[in-house]
Amino acid sequence: MNVIKRNAGEIATVVVLLAAFAVPFLTEDPFVYSVANQIFIAVTAAFSVYLMLRMDLLTFAVPVFMAVGGYTVAIAGLKGGVTDSFALTALSFVVPALIALPLGILVLRLKGVYFVLVTFVLTEITQLVLFETPNLTGGSNGLVGMPPTTLFGLELADNRAVLLLAIGVTVAAAIITALVTSYHRQNFAAIEENETLAQSLGLVVWRYKVLGFVVAAGLAGMAGFSLVNMLLTAHPTSFSSSSSVNYIAYTIVGGRVSMLGPVVGSVLLVWMSNLFSNQGQYSQGLFGLLIIIVVLVARGGIVGTLANLVAFLKQWLRQDDNITAAAPPSALSEHT
């Protein structure tokens, strides 16, 4: 029972995402399909930010590994003829994770602000590398003309199939995130609370940080696969350094205290930025305001604030019960 209670957030997240498989069968509205696709890509990418935040590390590097994952899939499809969606999903996780391993060992020696700056610099480097390697990545033209992905030999070409694949990738990402964060919950929490203390108590901090970084890179890579699969092209602008801010916003506004946070944040913010779709450029201002509000008054984001509210109401009700049951009326009137 305790295991379920402790992992309630993780279990709820996976269940909610599994339930999302119903969406493509409930509607055929192309607008809903488009927004839903964006939401699932956003959720997958936001898990990457969430995982790093569990160790109090803010990362801007999500688009970096999204690009690695996305371009890996595109190149595998174009040059290798790989179309099986299981193989492509695995590739989009493994290749970014392998690149993140040596990189993580290097950059995770930096703490706090310095780590944040390095991840920001990485996004700029990625853009330049994409433009400077036209033979591999197509440069400013990007890569187009990938064969459609397949599932057990069936072509996944129509809108519904693309959305189903995006949901499947997101569920896989959620399961990976849930397993890693719940298995290492205490180690991550120790690093988040007080890294120096954790280290002096014998926790090999860098090992967990590198593990988190590698898995987060893989998750971002899977988001990159979904994005490339939706757009049918791998292009540098899809992985711009300014997009990293969006994934951070989804996670923080939704709430970094629970795995449900990135899901809630992504659904809400992607949906809102599609609401004023013809003024999509204004959505970043809205994200900015929401980030300011969360940082100043609601640290737990939407999910954290709701959880606090529920806890507060519970306690309030219990107190009410206690007073009427235990205290005689005379004692009450003395206080008032």
């Binding site: 930096l110 602000v113 929401l290 940082v295």
Partner: protein, 288 residues
Amino acid sequence: MNEFISAGLIGVSLGAQYALLALGFTLIFGILGVVNFAHGGFYVAGGYIAYGFVSHLGVPYVIAVLLATLATGAIGYLFELFLVERIVEDHLATLMLTLGLYLTMSTGVLVAFGPESPQFQFPISGSLQIGKFHLPIENIVVLSICLLAIATVYLLMYKTDFGRALRALADDRQVAAAQGLRPRLLFPLAFGVACGLAGLTGALVTPILSLAPHVGDPVLATSFLIVILGGLGSIGGATIAAFLVGLVEAYSSVYLGGSKGALALFVLVLIVLVVRPSGLFGREVRGA
């Protein structure tokens, strides 16, 4: 040879602009421990405020630049006083807060002025001929103002009580506060001065380069590069690194073309960060 020298001049004038930006950025980090993601936003705001005064109200350019500097400084002062001050001890939270401000500011500019870049021309043009070299006058004017501003910052930081107080707070906040210096009073002022510097640079430079709501992004990235190279929080390091970056950018665009120079710079910075996090010329100013 001619090409070499004129590229060098462009590099020096780029370096002077970068130095002004990076000084503000490094001051805020050194003194408050805040990474100001909104720094590019203040640069853009400075440019648009100056443009607004010149084109809508017919104010002379010189006065518009002064007004833009004061206005961005005031925004920075208020932002620190009312928002950053409340969570100034938490590095990650202040970082996200300034990020939020940056997004809000650039969207504000977008709403007010639209996405197209406005016609904003430097009031003087033409070129000065010295020997065989043609030097654009506007570059010389901007370069001199930047150098003047940099000198003023140095005087302010090293020759006045205000500067000494700020450096004391940067060195050890607890001890400085115990000696009677008041962070509550000085932090907003420092933030205001630094943002004013970014605004001044924006007002001066955008008429020559370009003015658009998104020009803050590369400015932010360059400021990062410079302060990392020079050592976060170090004033001297930021100045030297700014001129270094300016020269590398100018020469690589002439001799290498494309973005290879920028790529080399970014990779260099990455290596510096990993091998020597305190920067090329810095010491560990703040263990963030």
